[in-house]
């Protein structure tokens, strides 16, 4: 029993064919099999949010699914979002107000923030806090993280209005 299974998935736009043991989580696959260590693992039970990645463009916990379940899907990690410059503005705002200290939670925070911003509406602070309720940060006290996301959302809206005008 428990032989390896062939899977094919897109990771950050690149097709990857691999043999995985069914019990390998997507988080371990990303970190250990294909060396994308930007996805962090903390609790490995869905509580801390350090392991968030995009699955078919929606944030999910990479520790709460097995790599075999991602067969045929598109996964994007913090590396992918960074390289295609999808969150340059967000990263700049995080940097400017020290919305990270040790940085352990940051990839998960950015993936959550990407999800919030992708919805297109401009969330209020309560809405942002709500959407970050599954992301733990042990350093910053959250205030600066909420600031960074709020500012990015406002800037994106202003940018869109300018383009329309």
């Amino acid at each position: 029993m428990s032989g390896k299974v062939a899977i094919s998935l897109a990771v950050n736009g690149e097709t990857i064919e691999a043999l995985v043991a069914p019990r390998t989580t997507l988080a371990d696959f990303l970190r250990q099999d294909i060396q994308l260590t930007g996805t962090h693992t903390g609790c490995e039970m869905g509580v801390c949010g350090a392991c968030l990645v995009l699955l078919d463009d929606r944030p999910v916990h990479a520790c709460l699914m097995f790599a075999v379940q991602a067969d045929g899907c598109a996964v994007e990690t913090i590396e992918g979002l960074t390289h295609r410059r999808a969150i340059d503005d967000l990263q700049k705002e995080f940097h400017e107000r020290n919305a990270l200290q040790c940085g352990f939670c940051t990839p998960g925070m950015l993936v959550s923030a990407y999800g919030i911003l992708a919805s297109g509406d401009e969330p209020d602070r309560d809405g942002i806090r709500d959407a970050l309720s599954g992301n733990y940060c042990r350093c910053t006290g959250y205030e600066s993280i909420v600031d960074a996301i709020e500012t990015t959302a406002r800037q994106r809206r202003q940018h869109m209005e300018e383009e329309k005008a």
Partner: protein
């Protein structure tokens, strides 16, 4: 910790999934969203030899209207319930409860059928299935059967499901012009499981309660209907006095559990507070 080794299969149809479970002699688990099962495997609370992935089966998908009911396919994800106009219009109570279910990323994977099959008494959707008098459609190798929510939740994590059976869909009676609903819960932090929560599905006519169902979550080993409270309110107007009396009835009817943070008395008190709030805002809210 990591899960113990297991085999994995993705069947092409429900029948194949059911047969795979039988062939495995019961040493198997279905996996849908995995948002409860994967942590249980990681903690080795469960260690089945085979995972049967039902998340992508077309037969289990989708939201649609079906003869006076809203059909919710078992693998409909929490985020789909939250974003659906059909749900907002025809099952407003579910739309109100959905934002309280876990966190956004968990809602992106967790499924409605998985939540009912797991039957966590602290979960929102099982209690709302009870408040809505939903019908649960179940498949086994012998065929298909339907069970009312009132007969589905039996004990802690125990349902009418027999080993190997699959929840295929849930049917929710459609809201009418008289329907009034309310949902709320009290939790320590956003997204946490509630200390106590409740949903109400009522039919109101000219300010009078024609019919009311109230279900609580996080008060016992199953979601709980409070029938004495419902009876006390039926035929009445929701005056401050009627609400106070309903709260008193609740205080005697409810026999809540305690845990390390919340003694039973505190939970009973919070349930009364919550009931008062929900009844107070019921008339104004479809």
């Amino acid at each position: 910790m990591k899960a113990r080794a297991f085999d994995y299969m993705r069947p092409k149809c429900v029948q194949e999934a059911l047969e795979a479970f039988v062939s495995a002699d019961g040493d198997a688990s279905y996996i849908a969203g995995g948002q409860s099962l994967v942590p249980a495997l990681a903690l080795r609370l469960q260690a089945p030899g085979l995972l049967i992935d039902i998340a992508r089966l077309d037969e289990l998908r989708g939201l649609s209207l079906a003869g006076g009911h809203l059909r919710i396919g078992a693998t409909t994800r929490h985020c789909e319930i939250l974003g659906s106009n059909l749900v907002r219009e025809h099952a407003p109570l579910l739309a109100k409860a959905a934002p309280f279910v876990a966190h956004p990323a968990i809602r992106n994977k967790g499924t409605f059928g998985g939540s009912l099959a797991l039957a966590d008494p602290a979960s929102e959707f099982p209690a709302m299935a009870l408040a809505l008098d939903a019908i649960i459609e179940i498949a086994s190798v012998e065929g298909s059967r339907r069970v009312g929510a009132g007969d589905f939740f039996i004990d802690l994590y125990e349902t009418a499901l027999q080993p190997g059976e699959i929840v295929t869909a849930v049917y929710v009676p459609l809201a009418t012009a008289k329907t009034r609903t309310a949902f709320d819960e009290l939790a320590r932090r956003r997204g946490d499981y509630a200390i106590v929560g409740a949903g109400i599905d009522a039919q109101m006519q000219g300010g009078f309660v024609e019919r009311m169902r109230i279900a609580f979550l996080s008060v016992g080993s199953t979601p709980v209907r409070v029938r004495a409270v419902e009876a006390a309110l039926t035929g009445r107007q929701l005056t401050p006095e009627a609400i106070r009396q309903a709260q008193d009835v609740l205080g005697t009817e409810l026999d809540p559990v305690g845990d390390e943070h919340t003694p039973p008395e505190m939970r009973r008190h919070l349930a009364r507070v919550l009931l008062g709030r929900l009844l107070g805002r019921l008339e104004a809210s479809r």
